[in-house]
Amino acid sequence: MELNKDHVTSENDKAQDPNPRFASEGCSVLLDVNDGDRLVFARLSGGATLKIGNTKYSLKPLIGAPFGSLFQVETGDDGSSLLYRILPIKKESSSNNVTEDARDNRELIDNNESQNLTEEDIEAMRREGAKGDEIIEALIANSKTFDKKFQLSQEKYKLKKQKKYAPKVLLRRPFARSICEAYFKKYPARIGFLRIDALSLLLTMANVTAYSDVLVVDMVGGLVTGAVAERLGGTGYVCNTYKGNSPSSVDMVRMFNFTDKVKERIVQSSINELSSPKTASPEEGVCSAEVNINDSSTCDVVEEVSVTDNTVAESKSTKAPKVGRGAKASKEAVEMWKENGFSSLIMAAQDQDPWSLAKDVLPLLSYSAPFAIYHQYLQPLATCMHNLQQGKMAINLQITEPWLREYQVLPSRTHPHMQMSSFGGYVLSGIRISTT
């Protein structure tokens, strides 16, 4: 089979690599503390820190590390706490026959008296430079009830202690997937309760691909715009449109670490401008970037990370143009869209009636262009679908509700997770047709 070498990115491309594998200075990262317990977005600068428990740890060791590398809190010889890169040890599968373990918890009394070590003892150990794993071993040795526990309960106990005394931090790449999941877990209202499977459905139903011109109405902070831009990969356009005079913020786009090539493709233009007849448009500035200079917006997202002097330095540098609201679409682009229409539409407009937006925005699409409208509430979508049918503006109309359930798969312990998200929104999809 022919292996096409063009498909392999060379070292030279790494700088503007759309798919970077290493965390560079100044890039945005997602920190996964203790295996998904806590997710924090951060920007890797010299002065950036992460707070775990009561201590702040410098994020400097993370710069230059490959995405996917694991860090653990360790006490240095001088007593300082640092994040050290650790290489994961190959886990041995516990092949002990769990079903033969006859221990259970009938004699365990929950009276806080099972552990001999006190908090002061542990603190003393830490000050003397004991490593996290050593503390855990000591806790197990000093537990009166540990040996009586059922094997799987012992594992659960050990894991719990590990998370507290030897926390691990996983360096993750921000991607539409991780950004959406993190926000959905922590601040779902900011993204309109758009769950990861609903977002993926929007991207697929709207046929987002390279060289397409995607029209979006993004009122979920930029998540949809960013996800579309990710799939466009630096070709085509994603144009965020809006009623009235100014678009909503698409600040989240900054977290994606887009290359300049991709960022150029993210533009905005009002519905009025896109709908006006094909005449010479009024003398508005062409490509005037509306920058969101106020860096306090970083704090919204990165609350646990204290970003110090670095952010001020960043706004002065001209390296990465800010994408507060996106650059205004050029006249040429607008004319092209009026001529050809957009190739698809995604709407994620919180608190807006979908029909009142759809009736203005749908005519901007080419014929046979697919669209996907997301909304938290069913009724407005039902009305919108009905009106589209009556007006014969679209076919293949369907209202879909995505359903997602996660499973825990462990030997003898396989079952769905105890907690589940029961709601991820509704999507109205269809294809625009010509009304003649």
């Binding site: 089979m1 022919e2 292996l3 063009d6 498909h7 759309p18 798919n19 594998r21 998904g36 490959p66 995405f67 996917g68 994961p88 886990k91 599968s93 790449r173 539409a176 997937r177 990861i196 499977d197 977002l199 993926s200 459905l201 991207l203 697929t204 139903m205 046929n207 691909t209 390279a210 060289y211 397409s212 990710e230 466009l232 990969g233 070709t235 001529e339 050809n340 229409g341 190739s343 698809s344 014929y367 046979s368 262009a369 009724q379 039902a382 679908m385 009905h386 076919i395 209202i399 879909t400 509700e401 995505p402 359903w403 997602l404 359930r405 499973y407 798969v409 396989t414 294809i431 047709i433």
Partner: protein
Amino acid sequence: MLPTDSKKALSFKRCIQDGDLVIVYERHDVMKPVKVTKDGVLQNRFGFYKHSDWIGKPLGTKVFSNKGKFVYLLAPTPELWTLVLSHRTQILYIADISFVVMYLEVVPGCVVLESGTGSGSLSTSLARAVAPTGHVYSFDFHEQRAACAREDFEQTGISSLVTVEVRDIQGQGFPEKLSGLADSVFLDLPQPWLAVTSAAKMLKEDGVLCSFSPCIEQVQRTCEVLRSDFIEIRTFEVLLRTYEVKEMKVETGAMIGESQDELNGGQRPSKRKHVSKDDDDYAVPQDNSSTATSVVMARPCSEARGHTGYLTFARLQCLS
């Protein structure tokens, strides 16, 4: 199917040409793919349609049969293709496809390995996601199905993005040549645990693997094997629920104690509502104060797919 440059992108102006693949849409559940030819004719229950009438018309328009009935001609997309392709095997549908593409973090330029090819439903969506600079290497152990898939990819115009090879991945693993080059790997095999070690060799560090299995026992065995080289192992089920929307003419009769304003608002049908099926079938109201309003209502469809398979995702550990 996929635009290879902005000129080929979907637009008002793009007209149907001889040799194009179009989707003929009668109803949402009656569609078929047709290759347009100068002398071609489409026959269905509405009569017959000459392809020559279609050439030169823009996509998304109505075309009429000799009997005056119409259908729509649509541009092919991977979604429509999944609904109209010929099933040689059980295929993946939009719910699983869209979740897989997102969770595997597939973006333009990626290299994705897939086994088995099956009927090419997922392959088409993967091709869309990696275009224009990435590539999909797809493997199937069944020679005839691999050939059919290649034909389909030619027909839909994505053969420059997908390479199909006949290979038994469970027995032989993935080819050595691709080691360390894959951003993502997708497995849809009866015994995926046999392919995990080979998949681990193919993946870049921090790359993502996905295994699709209908049975939980398969999932359990796969997860056991995944634990040696992979982290962040997560298993999901994805389904869709569709809703039907109806306009109902609702008559609101007066109820004791209800204010007239409430009734005129018509938001709540009263206990004695009569739902009429057509306009000349109104039930005679019991009292004189009644108004007919129409309400658009939605409810879930009664039929739904209960299960397709479990999707297990895992990341290759970073060891360097």
